[in-house]
Symmetry: C2
Subunit: 207 residues, 2 copies
């Protein structure tokens, strides 16, 4: 991950720290993030790292926020170049599979769900906001596909969004255990079947 | 969790340690398991705990094994009482949803996948064996449903097992974030749609 910066300017120290924190958190999750290890890895003093974030929790929150933004951009930007409706929804799923490929050794966003879904506090709130926000994005893309006449009007966007999300969890899970290519093949077959089940039945020609 | 023991005998010390280890691992995962905390929690000395397992890794392996056995028994025993085929497959899914309800605050088996899928070693091997074994169980149940004529002969057991597994991941994920009841409702709808898509088309009466 390299954090985006204004053209012509190098990354700020804060951004460099977040980049290193990201690499560490991919291995050990947000809870495994230690200011000591981060200071060592950036060549800064612990107090130097603290000065940019104020606390370990603020650092974790800033990191979660920056990865979530990156995730949405990675998927949405290419999807928005496609025509509204099913082409956009398909591109979105395709980019999500790509994100999963790149992050098969560990996704900070998914690990954060496991780490914080049972704990109260600012990190759980942030995870919840990020997850609910992404589910809303999915629902919106599905609604556009219904409006465009690509999916049946009785398609339930919340249900379809849940099922797409579940398949992406299946992809991430299986990729880490049994290999990415087989898992992606399974995911793509399932997505096609899922989309087909929400489309108007077309008369089959030649049968 | 209470470990099963021969009738008339109380649990052994080893079983009592595993019970406590399980409670600790539900919160912090297998990696969060410390011999020190376990000794404190069981009122034993650290060397007393070590004497029963030999090493922290042996303890983690024994715990993983005992939870995996418990998971399979929890689901398979009631499923085997149902008729072969779709009734058994449905019961299996229903019990899996129940396991997810009981373990919504944290499932050691799923956490272990996140913890070890990227690391070499005996724990990864154990996780892999457990996951592959469970997927085989699912495939077997699906094949029986095909043999019984409840699912179409062109149903791909590996694909269907992947999709059922993905839905269960979706259930666990959503339950922790958005609440169990809504997540279970979504999962049940998806399972029904999935099973229906693999069944022979029956002529619809009254349309």
């Amino acid at each position: 991950m390299s954090t985006s910066t204004p053209a012509g300017k190098g990354p700020t120290t804060r951004e460099l720290i977040l980049d290193r924190a990201y690499e560490l958190a991919r291995e050990d999750g947000l809870e495994g993030l230690s200011i000591g290890a981060l200071a060592l890895s950036t060549g800064m003093s612990k107090s130097g790292v603290f000065a940019h974030f104020g606390s370990r929790e603020q650092l974790q929150l800033a990191l979660l926020e920056s990865v979530a933004t990156r995730f949405v951009e990675f998927i949405k930007t290419p999807a928005l170049r496609e025509a509204r409706g099913l082409p956009r929804l398909r591109k979105l799923a395709e980019r999500w599979c790509e994100w999963s490929r790149i992050h098969q050794s560990g996704c900070v966003l998914l690990s954060a769900v496991v780490e914080y879904d049972g704990r109260d506090g600012a990190l759980r709130q942030s995870v919840l906001r990020q997850q609910a926000g992404w589910r809303d994005e999915l629902r919106r893309a599905i609604k556009l596909a219904i409006d465009a006449g690509h999916l049946r009007v009785d398609t339930d966007p919340t249900q379809l969004a849940f099922e797409i999300y579940a398949l992406m969890l299946g992809l991430h899970h299986d990729a880490g255990l049994f290999g990415y290519e087989e898992a992606r093949h399974r995911t793509e077959l399932a997505l096609e079947r899922l989309f087909a089940s929400c489309r108007y039945m077309e008369p089959e020609v030649g049968r």
